[in-house]
């Protein structure tokens, strides 16, 4: 019971940190990276301690492993997509509205 309450307090503290950081990093283009990073830490804490992954069976861990693998694949695909420029396009999409 205490572990649940402690996890809740840590999650709220991380929420506060995220909001504070968002004021600090306003107008900075890469601000999304640390903000999503803190959110990822919150998600892991919630999954492990509140969703019960810390004492879950093999089935849950198979799903978590598969999900992590899919996430890595998706990140690599997106990284390729964002860093590739088409030789046919004079005006790539990222040069559009800004």
């Amino acid at each position: 019971m205490g572990a649940y309450l402690l996890t809740g307090l840590v999650l709220l503290a991380l929420l506060g940190l995220n909001v504070w950081l968002s004021f600090l990093l306003e107008d900075i283009p890469w601000a999304l990276v640390p903000l999503i990073g803190i959110a990822a830490v919150q998600a892991v804490l919630l999954a492990v301690f509140l969703m019960g992954l810390s004492h879950a069976g093999k089935v849950a861990w198979i799903y978590v492993g598969t999900g992590t693998f899919l996430l890595i694949i998706a990140c690599l695909t997106l990284a390729d997509y964002f860093t590739r420029t088409s030789p046919l396009a004079d005006d790539p999409p990222r040069a559009g509205f800004r």
Binding site: G8, L15, V19, S22, D27, A39, R98
Partner: protein
């Protein structure tokens, strides 16, 4: 001449198959553990399909954010960061009360279970009330990008309007679908809270609470990422 059994009538287990209504407490399952594993597998499979569904929307958001970083950051500035943070706190606390509910269910404490489930449902409902209020504010500020509404974000002109329209389309779709998921969760949790008062969902039947809790935590997880993506990165 003796006839050989094919094993089909016993499923190979040596026990005869029975119709579900005669099969005892665990239906077609041999024991509680098997039923629990099957149910957990089903719920994780369902949650995986939900992750793929939201994953596509998240990927769409990140792609357009890379295309139009300035316009998306500016559009995010029109949202109410304080209300978003308040809603995040509601959902995080509701996840704690949901985990406490699982413990009370396993211990067979009906009234405490009902209290924890009721608190989770109430916090979820508070989230939806705040979200509704927020939607009202956004409608008044001209931030609704759908047909029949005039999209006119204050102080924005030219091509930026189109990129900001894209942000708000994604914002309303993502938060709207999340809200629908939460409303379904509130319905399930309220039904369980009412049942808990009459002694249901305790002890061996606490599995149902665990499964709904998994769904509830998943809805919370989605919001944990939506909040910085939509409200904080500006």
């Amino acid at each position: 001449m003796p006839t050989r059994s094919t094993g089909a009538e016993t499923g190979g287990s040596g026990k005869p198959f029975l119709p579900v209504h005669e099969a005892g407490r665990f239906g077609q399952f041999e024991e509680e553990t098997q039923e629990r594993e099957a149910a957990t597998l089903g719920m994780w499979t369902f949650l995986s399909s939900e992750i793929l569904f939201f994953g596509a929307l998240f990927a769409g958001y990140f792609i357009y954010r890379m295309f139009y970083p300035g316009a998306f950051a500016e559009a995010s500035g029109h949202l109410h960061r304080g209300l978003g943070a308040l809603n995040s706190a509601f959902l995080l606390v509701s996840s704690v009360t949901m985990s406490l509910a699982i413990r009370q269910a396993a211990l067979g404490r009906g009234r405490a279970l009902a209290t924890c489930l009721g608190a989770s449902a109430a916090l979820g409902a508070a989230f939806l009330v705040v979200k509704g209020y927020e939607y009202g504010l956004e409608a008044r500020e001209g931030l609704v990008p759908f047909p029949g509404w005039e999209f006119r974000p204050p102080g924005v002109e030219g091509a930026n309007v189109d990129a900001q329209r894209l942000f708000f389309i994604l914002y309303f779709i993502l938060t709207g679908i999340h809200g629908i998921h939460l409303a379904i969760g509130i319905g399930l949790v309220s039904w369980m809270a009412a049942g808990a008062l009459f002694g249901v969902f305790q002890g061996p039947r606490s599995m149902a609470v665990e499964l709904v809790a998994l769904y509830w935590h998943f809805v919370d997880l989605v919001w944990i990422f939506l909040f910085p993506m939509l409200y904080l990165a500006r």
